[in-house]
Amino acid sequence: MNDVNEEQVYEWLADVKDPEVPALSILDLGIVRNVAVTDNSVNVTITPTYSGCPAMDVISIGIRMALAGHGIKQITIDQQLSPAWTTDWMTEDGKRKLKEYGIAPPNRKAFSSLGLFEEEEIQCPRCDSTHTEMVSRYGPTSCKALYKCLDCKEPFEHFKCH
């Protein structure tokens, strides 16, 4: 394990994808909280996006497989809740990849003052129009809402600010 350092582990983790949004790695998503390498083991601390996010178990398996593939034998994974994950931790690169994938990225500071019934303006990932309409606050996964573009008519998903 002498030649393994934290930087190296981060490079490997870039290959672990979010199973629900495979365009993003777990680093793009900002859910890797810490990596610690000791004599003969690697510890990775991750944070869930939503409390009941079923992807977390799959992500843990992905991390194990990726590290095992590079010869790491002792792997521990911890989950840490606080401070709570926010879409502000998604990298700019991650937001760009999301848009290319056809999902409108979170575009506001999470929990900036938005009133109870205030709606934010969402940009269509296809034609960039902001002339869009929310179809449903909830989408196929907890982290996404459904929208449609009133200009190019594209139905699309929006990764909610959280």
């Binding site: 409390s51 019934f117 907890s142 459904l146």
Partner: protein, 271 residues
């Protein structure tokens, strides 16, 4: 006193999650089916975190105390065998009277208006409660509350929108929504009556002061109902209580029968 309090928070989350989960595949339209099941997942996720914590606290109790803590023979057998318990033990093997959820969350779905009314009262409570609880002196509880606050904010927006849409909708939707509000109302009082273990936790600044939460909650409820052209039953109406102390309505028995069936029938089975 901390263990019953953690269980109280966890049981609310599990039981409302189970109730909302009953809508899976039965929602009036796909988007709303998805909305309720997404919310159910948030609640069950919160229940898991809290049960894990409760199990940790339980496993540190002296063995003689563990043996009699829950009436469930399945749990007592585990303790006798020298085993520790985990989140699944608490969800799947406890008997009804050891559950500490409020009666409100065990109310049946009945129809869309009742589901919305129950959700609205509970989501508004969660919103203010978790806002305060995220400053708890217990770091684990504070972390769970901080995480959940973002989710319950979505839940509250969803249920408030539906209360307004139905209340300020057609004559029929208005009437149905008003009836659901009237009949659910008597299950809200319990939210704000502190049990001895809650009072002890409030004294240690682990849990929020319920009177303060009630003031905020009442203001929000009135604000939304006003916009929905709906009214609340007269002040001083009779309120049901008992859930937080383990005295439940018969509904809980039916919920647990379904929820616990697999583990009770095929002990230790794995999915």
């Amino acid at each position: 006193m901390k263990l019953p309090y953690i269980l109280r928070l966890a049981d609310d989350a599990l039981i409302i999650g189970q109730r909302l989960g009953e809508w899976t595949g039965h929602g009036p339209i796909l988007e709303q089916d998805i909305a309720l099941t997404n919310a159910a997942l948030d609640h069950v996720g919160r229940a898991r975190s809290l049960y894990q914590y409760a199990a940790e606290v339980f496993n540190q109790l002296p063995k003689e105390q563990q043996l009699t803590y829950f009436t469930s023979m399945a749990i007592q057998e585990k303790i006798k065998a020298g085993e520790s318990i985990d989140e699944d033990t608490l969800a799947y093997l406890r008997d009804g009277w050891d559950f500490r959820n409020v009666l409100l969350v065990e109310r049946p779905n009945i129809d869309w208006a009742y589901t919305v009314a129950r959700g609205f009262f509970f989501d508004a409570f969660n919103f203010f409660y978790f806002t305060a609880l995220s400053k708890s002196t217990d770091a684990t509880i504070a972390a769970v509350a901080e995480k959940s606050l973002k989710e319950v904010t979505y839940h509250l927006r969803w249920s408030s929108e539906w209360v307004i849409r139905l209340g300020d909708g057609t004559d029929e939707s208005h009437e149905k929504m008003q009836q659901a509000i009237n009949e659910t109302w008597s299950f809200t009082g319990e939210l704000f009556v502190a049990t001895d273990y809650e009072a002890a936790m409030t004294a240690e600044c682990v849990s929020p002061n319920l009177q303060q939460i009630q003031t905020l909650w009442t203001a929000r409820i009135n604000e939304v109902l006003d916009e929905a052209t709906l009214t609340l039953p007269a002040a001083g109406a009779w309120m049901q209580q008992g859930g937080k102390a383990g005295t439940h309505t018969e509904e809980l028995g039916y919920i647990l029968t379904e929820l616990q069936f697999m583990q009770r029938t095929y002990p230790n089975m794995q999915w």
